[in-house]
């Protein structure tokens, strides 16, 4: 068993956030961007649960937050994917570089 401590959870969460941020900024595929966004959300969720486990007396509120985040993420993915679908129909691609009609 690995040694369990708050800092190890925070390190994992930071790693997830960093990977997500990198994906968000570097990937040109919109689905990959959406996945990166999910990673960032989950890193935040992981933080909630970890702080709940190590720092709080009442062990439930952080987990309730996490459940809300999961529900929110589901809704967000729904909308995000449908937007991507629409974009695909319009431009035959889900590359962000193709969707820059609003440039100056």
């Amino acid at each position: 068993m690995m040694h369990q401590s708050l800092s190890s959870y925070l390190w994992i969460s930071t790693a997830l956030f960093a990977i997500g941020l990198y994906g968000l900024l570097a990937r040109r595929n919109l689905v990959a961007v959406l996945i990166s966004l999910e990673l960032i959300l989950n890193s935040a969720g992981l933080n909630f649960v970890a702080f709940n486990r190590f720092a709080l007396v009442d062990k439930s509120s952080g987990q309730v937050f996490m459940i809300f985040i999961v529900a929110l993420a589901a809704a967000e993915v729904c909308i995000g994917l449908s937007l991507i679908l629409l974009l695909y129909r319009r431009t035959d691609s889900i590359d962000t570089e193709r969707a820059k009609e609003l440039n100056g």
Partner: protein, 637 residues
């Protein structure tokens, strides 16, 4: 009725007619001539009642006034210690304006009557009579004003009436142009007048004529300022009374209907300038330099007008230049310090000159031409009434004793002789030229052989009803009679009653002057007779190539050309330069440059908008990181 009620009647009866004509339904507009005559008649009768009531009393001075605006406790201008300013409205009644009022209302009445004949066939008669009544309203308002501001308001309205009536035949381009010219020239002159009024108000705090006394003015103001104010007011007079160099509008104003010329452009409105000079004589007398200028301008006008009258062919133009010249003569009288004589000449001149114009109208209406040779060829000499009136009027104008012009002109010459040799010489020359062009006008109409094809021309075209014939004859005869009466009132035989009443000292009769005048008349008439004994030959001489003098006369001494030069070359040149400057500097350099600069900045800024999602995100993330970094640093973390 009380004096005030009579004054209100004089003022408002013509105004009521003016409004009524426009309020009438179209079908009832035919009553306009009757209404016009009625309104003018009412005003004339009221005025005669007033004159009969006060004609004998000396020292008449009735003033009705009410405060309009009053500012006290604060100066209007730095450097002027005055703190009490009053603007009043009111009527003033004294001999000078009772005389002027009588003249205006009586001549208005006769002109309205004559217009019934003259305008009988014009389809827009109602408008004509309405405007004529409007003129009577404004003119009496001007005469009755007791202060300069009220005078100025009516002064402008009179100008408007003049403009409307000169351009009455709007379909005639020449009439429209003449109306515009009269309007513009007068506004130019009135600018000076208005400035004078404003400055006078600032310096003295009052505009009442009663307060314009040389003594009080001289005590409060420096001579330089007084001269300046006097010249500014004189500027307005020069416009209205057609003094050199503003006289150019008057001959052109003859494009209007002839009765209008008789009323407005010979007897009343153009005399308003002279009237104002007499009215505010205190202001002019307060500075010797102003009087000198007045005299000089009057002399120049009188000479230029008389000289130009000698070469015109158009009967109305001859009379118009004659009016210019006579107005100059009156202004000279005032400049020479004899306002009562000027006023006397104004009176006699108004009667015989309006009669002359109506006579011209009678000729023009019957023979359909303005050219004196043409009138003669169409049988002008056979129209006994008009020819008689013409002879009578011209003899009065020339100043043959015992007709009206003789006495008034003699008084002015006397005043001029007291003033100096140069003004006197100018006066004599003007008198001589007056006799000469009068003789010319009469001889050409009377002696030109009637052309055979013109036989019965008049009789065929005009079936004058007795009413119209009466409307033609009555004003001519009455005005002739009135000019005799007005002249007689100033004669030594009747003890200079009119002059006494106007407040002048008694002039002594000078027989040498009478001799000189008679000599001048004989000389002028002789010269006229020598040249125009045979009008056909004189007309033939006109066809010969013109010498320098006649070219100058034909070009009206190049004064109109000078105006055109100033306006077209200089004025438009400056305007073109300013236009270019406006286009290049404020428009191009300032407005356009600013907008281009903003546009270019926008172009640069728009490059930042790549349209790429991740670029925006990167900026957002970088900004968040920076904010966090600084927040943490400020918290000491």
């Amino acid at each position: 009725m009380s004096d005030l009620n009579l004054l209100w009647t004089i003022q408002l009866a013509p105004l009521a007619v003016f409004l009524a004509v426009f309020a009438l339904p179209k079908t009832a507009r035919r009553a306009a001539p009757a209404l016009g005559v009625l309104g003018a008649g009412l005003a004339a009768v009221s005025c005669l009642v007033l004159a009969a009531r006060h004609g004998a009393s000396h020292g008449l001075r009735v003033e009705f006034q009410a405060d309009w605006l009053r500012v006290s406790g604060a100066g209007l201008w730095p450097g002027v210690s005055l703190t009490d300013y009053r603007v009043v409205v009111g009527f003033l009644l004294d001999p000078v304006n009772l005389l002027m009022l009588t003249l205006v209302t009586v001549i208005s009445f006769f002109v309205q009557v004559f217009s019934v004949y003259y305008m009988a066939e014009d389809p827009s008669r109602p408008r004509y009579f309405a405007f004529l009544s409007f003129f009577s309203f404004t003119m009496t308002g001007l005469v009755l004003s007791n202060n300069l501001l009220q005078t100025f308001l009516f002064w402008e309205l009179v100008g408007l009436a003049s403009y409307l009536l000169i351009g009455f035949w709007v379909e005639k381009p020449a009439a429209a142009t003449a109306a515009r010219k009269a309007f513009v020239v007068n506004r130019l002159a009135d600018l000076g007048f208005y400035l004078g009024i404003v400055l006078l108000f600032i310096f003295t705090g009052t505009l009442r004529f009663a307060d314009l006394q040389p003594g009080t003015l001289g005590a409060t103001l420096s001579p330089g300022i007084l001269t300046f104010l006097g010249l500014l007011v004189l500027c307005g007079v020069m416009g209205k009374s057609a003094q050199f160099p503003f006289h150019v509008w008057l001959p052109d104003a003859m494009e209007g209907p002839t009765p209008v010329s008789a009323l407005i452009h010979s007897a009343t409105m153009v005399a308003a300038g002279v009237f104002l000079l007499v009215r505010s004589y205190g202001l002019f007398a307060a500075s010797a330099a102003t009087l000198d200028w007045t005299l000089a301008i009057g002399a120049l006008t009188a000479l230029v007008g008389a000289a130009l009258a000698t070469s015109q062919r158009d009967i109305k133009k001859i009379l118009a230049y004659s009016t210019v010249s006579q107005l100059g003569f009156m202004v000279m009288a005032i400049g020479a310090g004899a306002p009562a004589s000027g006023m006397f000449h104004l009176t006699t001149h108004a009667f015989f000159k309006s009669m002359l114009f109506l006579t011209a109208g009678a000729f023009i209406h019957r023979f359909h031409t303005n050219d004196i040779w043409e009138i003669g060829r169409s049988g002008g000499a056979s129209d006994r009434l008009a020819l008689g009136a013409l002879a009578f009027g011209l003899l009065s104008l020339a100043g043959l004793p015992p007709l009206a012009g003789f006495f008034s002109k003699d008084l002015i010459l006397e005043a001029l002789r007291e003033r100096g040799a140069l003004p006197f010489a100018a006066g004599l020359l003007v008198s001589f030229l007056t006799v000469y062009y009068s003789t010319r006008l009469f001889l050409v109409i009377a002696l030109t052989q009637k052309a055979p094809q013109a036989h019965g021309h008049a009789a065929h075209e005009h079936h004058e009803t007795p009413v119209l014939a009466a409307c033609r004859a009555l004003p001519l005869v009455s005005l002739g009679g009135l000019s005799l009466v007005a002249g007689a009132a100033g004669t030594p035989v009747l003890g200079h009653r009119l002059l006494h009443w106007l407040g002048a000292h008694t002039p002594h009769t000078d027989w040498t002057l009478v001799g000189i005048t008679l000599g001048l008349i004989a000389g002028g008439a002789g010269l006229g007779w020598a040249f125009f004994r045979d009008p056909a030959a004189a007309e033939g001489r006109l066809l010969r190539p013109a010498g320098a003098v006649r070219r100058a006369l034909d070009r009206k001494f190049y004064i109109d050309d000078l105006y055109v030069f100033w306006v077209k070359r200089v004025g438009l040149g400056i305007a073109a330069f300013l236009n270019l400057f406006d286009k290049k500097v404020p428009n191009r350099l300032m407005v356009d440059r600013t907008s281009y600069a903003v546009l270019d900045l926008g172009k640069i800024a728009s490059r930042l908008q790549s349209g790429l999602l991740q670029d925006y995100l990167s900026v957002a993330v970088a900004a968040t990181v920076l904010i966090l970094f600084f927040l943490m640093r400020s918290r000491g973390l």
